[in-house]
Amino acid sequence: MPERPVYLNLLRIHLPVSGWVSILHRLSGGLLFLAVPFGVWGLSQSLSDEAGFDRVANWLGHPLAKLFMLILVWAFAHHLFAGLRHLALDAHWGLDPKHARRSSITVLLASGLVVLLFARKLFI
């Protein structure tokens, strides 16, 4: 191996907040992709007949299923808000560091708020 500085210790890499929004946009997108076939499967079961509907309703009532749903709600909210932010950046809107940082924090807070609202609906 050549002697060169390699900084791949993820714990030591300091990402600016817009970097976190960006990497979480990828992560949430990957999660949402994985959810697609399960979503179609659930739709197929729930629309097949009454027993199928009751089965899916039963599954979704399970605390673990609710946790998965909450994770997917976060993934969708974050992916949507961060995606709209990227579209704005494509149009050269909010490119300067101050606004880019502010919009990143807004994305994180807005998706957090959506998660809280759904958590209240699911668990209370």
Binding site: F33, V40, S46, F53
Partner: protein
């Protein structure tokens, strides 16, 4: 700037990702609000939400746009993080099979003559 179509250019794919992003940003929250507002508690109520033909067409178009969008996104992820070409192609093929299968499956559900009639 390159032309937004033709082979050996990423611009068309980039544009496809943005166009489907806009569609999905409108359709998915709309569908979500529609389902949450209806809150069906039984099978009959749930099924009746999909009774209108327009609703089933919208579902299929939305998931088709989702499949195209997810294909571009997963392709970007693999191009950035998966170095070996063979593995990258296998993964991309798995993504395409999963997405195309999901769209075909949804079409079979939404346009099942036994459930919705032939309309």
């Amino acid at each position: 700037m390159k032309a937004a179509s033709g082979s050996h250019t990423g611009t068309g794919v980039w544009l496809l990702q943005r166009a489907t992003a806009l569609l999905l940003a409108l359709a998915l929250p709309g569908l979500g609000i529609y389902f949450l507002a209806a809150q069906p508690t039984d099978y009959a109520g749930w099924q009746s939400l999909f009774e209108p033909l327009g609703m089933r067409v919208l579902m299929l178009l939305t998931v088709a746009a989702l499949a195209l969008h997810a294909w571009v996104g997963m392709r970007d992820i693999f191009m950035d993080y998966v170095r070996p070409t063979g593995l990258r192609l296998v993964l991309l093929l798995a993504v395409i099979v999963t997405l195309a299968g999901s769209v075909a499956w949804l079409a079979a559900i939404m346009f099942n003559p036994a459930m919705w009639g032939t309309a």
